[in-house]
């Protein structure tokens, strides 16, 4: 596992997203209400850029007219054909076993802990870190 520092926490506020290239792969990163998520920026269907998808919630219906909306902001719709993925796992909503994109662990870590990194970090700051 490699840990990549991608941004100071202060520059990646809730409600924003960004796209980074790590080890040659484009990874879409999201900050949803202070929780970080990372997905390979490539839809398994036709390769659409997931980083440009719409963040929505989980809509479920037991019967016509009887629906619920939960987990706002944690379901990503591909900008091309609307395939939906769970941000936390990368699994598609419609066929979670067969159709998924890779999810990456993203978290915040104090600069103190990251001093071994080859990039300059300041000990008094916190940083967003992606594990690949």
């Amino acid at each position: 596992m490699t840990r990549h520092v991608v941004a100071p926490v202060s520059e990646f506020p809730p409600g924003t997203r960004r796209c980074v290239v790590l080890e040659g792969r484009r990874i879409a990163l999201f900050n949803v209400g202070g929780r970080y998520f990372g997905l390979l920026d490539r839809c398994p269907h036709q390769g659409g850029p997931l980083s440009e998808g719409v963040l929505t919630g989980l809509v479920e219906a037991g019967a016509p007219g009887d629906y619920s909306f939960s987990r706002p902001g944690e379901i990503l719709r591909c900008p091309w054909h609307g395939w939906e993925f769970d941000l936390a796992t990368g699994r598609s909503r419609f066929d979670p076993r067969r159709h998924r994109t890779r999810a990456f662990r993203v978290s915040a870590a104090p600069g103190e802990e990251l001093r071994a990194e080859t990039v300059p970090v300041r000990v008094e700051e916190n940083y967003v870190v992606v594990e690949t």
Binding site: G47, G48, G82
Partner: protein, 372 residues
């Protein structure tokens, strides 16, 4: 560590990049009616549009059905950074689509025009404006793009005038209709259009959607968008059946038909059915002299998008084997939401000769053009 913050995908070269491809279904939009269309539309029709609007022959005031999760029926990433509707910014179309996908020949199919409007004089004026606009704002600026002659097809005489007006301009590569007309497309009220297209040496292109006033299914108005989406294939089958049995292809053996955006996997089964009924009952017909499958093999082409996607890709390839690799014209439908990405539509084991026919050569042959 590499950290690169990107605002948009970098347009990395896809696997197909070695092959310059043809895209036979690209949808342009004007940035603004006032700035781009009005210069080609008489004052009185500008006033008409503002006062009375464009009223198509269909019950839904806001146009045909499309999924509202994809506004403007577009890819969510196709909004130009400088603003405006998807498909309205040539520079962004180049950067997002033509360059990274190596499109060397692209056919513009404007969907918003005078086609299907109830006011036939306005329909005629609006179609003419859209035709002039395609040349002035698109094909003159970008030699890879070619234009369609959109015609007010419910008025055959006006349509013929427009085909004749445009036919001398090299940038027009086809006569463009929508597949849901007021009456089945083989009926003779439309024949002057086909005669004019054949005389001009231009293929007749028939795109999904349209404003015939009739529901998309034989059983009435469906409940769900998804049924409209499925119905385009049935509409194109009705178009083809009508053109074959009304004798349009026998009357005009030089006419080439291109069916756009309604799938293709249905074609083998339809041909089997047409041949079978034709063999038994052709004495009912006056004008259809050739076996339907033979007509299709000689005069009919289909664009690929939206590709059928069977669970086993081999079945798709088998289906194309039945149809013939010389019949299909690759299309993306850019910038619409059900866009097909060229490097993902065929399994990797399909050989280079078939890929070249599918992605490039068939289109250049049908349209009689070279890569610019």
């Amino acid at each position: 560590m590499t950290t690169e913050v990107l605002e948009r995908p970098s347009g990395e070269a896809p696997a197909e990049a070695a092959l310059r491809i043809a895209d036979c279904d690209i949808h342009p939009s004007p940035k603004s009616l006032e700035r781009e269309i009005y210069p080609f539309l008489e004052k009185r029709w500008q006033r008409h549009l503002e006062r009375y609007g464009a009223r198509p022959r269909q019950p839904f005031l806001n146009g045909p059905a499309y999924p509202k999760g994809q506004p403007d029926a577009a890819r969510r990433d196709a909004y130009p950074p400088a603003g405006g509707r998807p498909g309205s910014d040539l520079a962004f179309m180049r950067a997002q689509h033509l360059d990274p996908n190596n499109v060397g020949f692209g056919v513009l199919n404007p969907l918003k025009s005078g086609q299907g409007l109830q006011n036939l004089d306005f329909a005629d004026a609006y179609c003419r404006a859209i035709n002039d606009w395609q040349i002035a704002f698109w094909t003159r600026e970008e030699p890879r793009l070619k234009a369609s002659i959109v015609i007010p097809y419910e008025d055959a005489a006006a349509s013929v005038r427009e085909i004749e007006r445009c036919a001398g301009e090299e940038d027009y590569v086809q006569v463009f209709m929508l597949n849901r007309t007021a009456e089945p497309m083989g009926q003779r009220r439309y024949w002057p259009i086909y005669d004019a297209a054949a005389a001009a040496g231009l293929p007749l292109a028939v795109h999904a959607f349209g404003f015939g006033g009739a529901p998309i299914t034989g059983g009435g108005w469906p409940s769900y968008y998804i049924e409209d989406m499925t119905g385009h294939a049935q509409s194109s089958q009705a178009v083809l059946t009508s053109l074959v049995f009304e004798g349009v292809f026998d009357r005009l053996p030089g006419l080439r038909l291109v069916l756009i955006e309604s799938g293709f996997a249905w074609l083998p089964a339809l041909c089997w059915r047409l041949d079978r009924v034709w063999m038994r009952m052709r004495d009912e017909l006056h004008r259809c002299k050739r076996r339907p499958s033979e007509i299709v093999r000689e005069q009919v082409f289909l664009t690929t998008q939206p590709m059928e996607e069977p669970g086993r890709p081999r079945q798709l390839v088998e289906c194309i084997d039945w149809i013939g690799w010389d019949r299909l014209l690759f299309a993306t439908d850019y910038p619409h939401w059900d866009f097909d990405q060229p490097d993902r539509v065929l399994p990797s084991w399909v050989d280079a000769e078939k890929r070249r026919a599918f992605f490039t050569d068939n289109a250049l042959r049908v349209y009689g053009r070279q890569m610019p």
